[in-house]
């Protein structure tokens, strides 16, 4: 049976890495149709069509779908749902808002943060902040899933899927967009970066967080933060790595001044190599680190920056 994959489009650009990883996760479920919605989304649709494993791309080019507003986007997905057994998306702010709404409109349960697809009805997902992994089997005819993409390889290019235009009449009066406050950065994107350098409460202040950023820039890495660092105002919310933030699995994860609360570990423990720098040798982060350095970050990090 067929799969409908809702793509995230940010400012007209396809979230290619997320879509490509979700494609890999669901390819065993059937031919995948990617839905690209938004104003000026034709380029994003054309890009989706080049991904290997895409059978078809549906393009819904309408201002109503701008900025990922949940209500019109969910209505669009529901209007297309009839042809598909699985409705999926990479887990993120868009899918977490839209897909539960879609599921309720279809009178089915949503299955969020899927880690593994066993068969058409059976999926693994984390519960209790990643302290347990549950295998669930659904009895619903339609399955609505968000995919935790961190551990899936991205599908390659080389596809040439047809792009079809679709439209739906949607009520745009429920919500409207006011503004985005998005820090622009030349750094790699957190969820797809090969190296991530994260700072925690141990960094001590927003000013000192610049040290973390400097190390990240030296390594051409993305910057992450623990919840404690974000709550303390040292780092913006979109840098948060953890169960309620972003889930990452880079080649190298460098945790600086992070104690290693379970909520944080849930967001980074699938990283290939983990480095921990912390002055407290009892910090739980050392229990998951491949390489631990017990040291004051304010001397170790500048030394690293100098010697790298």
């Amino acid at each position: 049976m067929a799969v409908l994959l809702l793509a995230d489009v940010v400012a007209g650009a396809l979230a290619t890495d997320q879509v490509a990883k979700a494609l890999t996760a669901v390819k065993s479920l059937g031919p995948v149709t990617v839905l690209v919605a938004g104003p000026d989304a034709a380029a994003a649709a054309a890009e989706a069509a080049t991904l290997s494993g895409v059978a078809k791309v549906l393009l819904a080019e309408d201002a109503a779908y701008a900025h990922g507003l949940s209500e019109p986007t969910a209505a669009l997905v529901v209007s297309l749902a009839g042809d598909y057994e699985h409705i999926v998306a990479a887990s993120g702010a868009l899918s977490k808002s839209v897909l539960p709404r879609v599921a309720a409109l279809l009178d089915v349960m949503v299955i969020s943060e899927v880690l593994a697809v066993h068969d058409a009805t059976t999926f693994d997902r984390p519960i209790y902040a990643g302290n347990a992994i549950q295998t669930v089997k659904t009895s619903d005819a339609k399955k609505v899933l968000t995919i935790r993409t961190a551990t899936f390889d991205a599908a390659g290019e080389g596809g040439a899927a047809p792009v079809e235009t679709v439209s739906a009449s949607v009520d745009g009066s429920l919500s409207s967009w006011v503004e985005d406050r998005v820090a622009s950065s030349d750094r790699p994107e957190l969820t797809s970066a090969g190296i991530v350098v994260s700072g925690g409460r141990g960094v001590g202040s927003q000013a000192d967080f610049a040290l973390i950023e400097k190390l990240a820039d030296k390594l051409n890495a993305a910057v992450g933060a623990s919840r404690a660092a974000v709550d303390s105002g040292y780092a913006p919310n979109d840098w948060q790595v953890g169960q309620t933030g972003k889930v990452v699995a880079p080649e190298l994860y460098v945790a600086v001044g992070i104690s290693g609360a379970i909520q944080h570990l849930a967001g980074m423990k699938d990283s290939k190599v983990i480095v921990a720098i912390n002055k407290d040798e009892e910090a739980p982060i050392f229990q998951v680190a491949d390489y631990g350095l017990v040291a004051d970050l304010f001397s170790a990090v500048p030394e690293m920056i100098e010697k790298l």
Partner: protein, 253 residues
């Protein structure tokens, strides 16, 4: 304006979670239970709206086992006015799914006619992150998810949301469902006099049958296991050693 706040009784966030050896789930017998932390933030926001004169009454509702009364009393002690318990399970290990919870809440909304529902964005037990969005869908209402700032402005609410790239501000038409994120506020502690006063506040008990809602699960749990652990690696003695290991041994630099 009446504000409705659903609250869930979950394992206390400080308790170490233990997976049962037979793979049937997480052991909740004789474990400290508390209000879901995200729901506490929702209760706090509702009380602040009442203190500002925006809300007139704060009604809290919980769906689950009888012991969820304690969670509701806690919300009443924080400052909510009235509570509704929908007893939908007799075993603490029975988790009522978000779809069924949303259907029950939709029935409560039709009865109570609140102008705003404030929900936690997710419960820390099943981590599903779905109930608020599902409720909005069933009612045909707008939704503002993952809120870090909320302002009620007449027939609209301005919601600042924590999204992937930073913050997004939207306006949603009232009545609406807002799901709250961690940084919206710092919930207060209930004072002893307020805990005493809460005992006298009204708490109604209902059942799913009263609302004609079927709470049978759509998902069956095949098994629950502990995640694959990571082994601790080695401690290095210096920055030089660390860089050398990353270059030569791990090959990631």
């Amino acid at each position: 304006m009446k504000v409705l706040v659903p609250v869930k009784r979950v394992i206390d966030y400080n308790v170490k979670v233990r997976v049962k050896a037979d793979g049937s789930g997480v052991d909740l017998a004789n474990v400290k239970m508390s209000m879901n932390p995200f729901d506490e933030i929702a209760v706090e926001e509702a009380i602040r709206l009442k203190e500002k004169g925006v809300a007139t009454e704060v009604v809290v509702v919980s769906i689950g086992v009888k012991q969820a009364q304690e969670t509701l009393r806690n919300a009443l002690a924080m400052g909510a006015d009235r509570a509704i318990l929908i007893e939908a399970a007799s075993d603490v290990h029975t988790d009522i799914e978000p779809l069924a919870v949303a259907k029950l809440l939709a029935a409560v909304v039709r009865e109570e006619a609140p102008g705003l529902v404030l929900c936690g964005k997710q419960a820390i037990d099943n981590d599903m992150n779905a109930t608020g969005q599902m409720l909005a869908a069933l009612l045909g209402w707008s939704q503002g998810t993952f809120a870090s700032e909320v302002a009620i402005e007449g027939d609209h609410a301005k919601v600042t949301r924590e999204v992937d790239g930073g913050l997004q501000t939207i306006t949603v038409r009232m009545p609406t469902i807002i799901t709250v994120d961690l940084r919206l506020n710092e919930p207060r502690y209930a004072s002893l006099p307020n805990i005493m006063k809460a005992k006298a506040k009204p708490l109604a008990t209902r059942t799913p049958a009263d609302y004609g809602v079927d709470v049978s699960p759509r998902l069956s749990v095949v098994k629950t296991v502990e995640p694959a652990g990571r082994k601790a690696g080695v401690k290095v003695g210096s920055v030089d050693e660390l860089i050398a290991k990353l270059k030569d041994e791990a090959g990631v630099l």
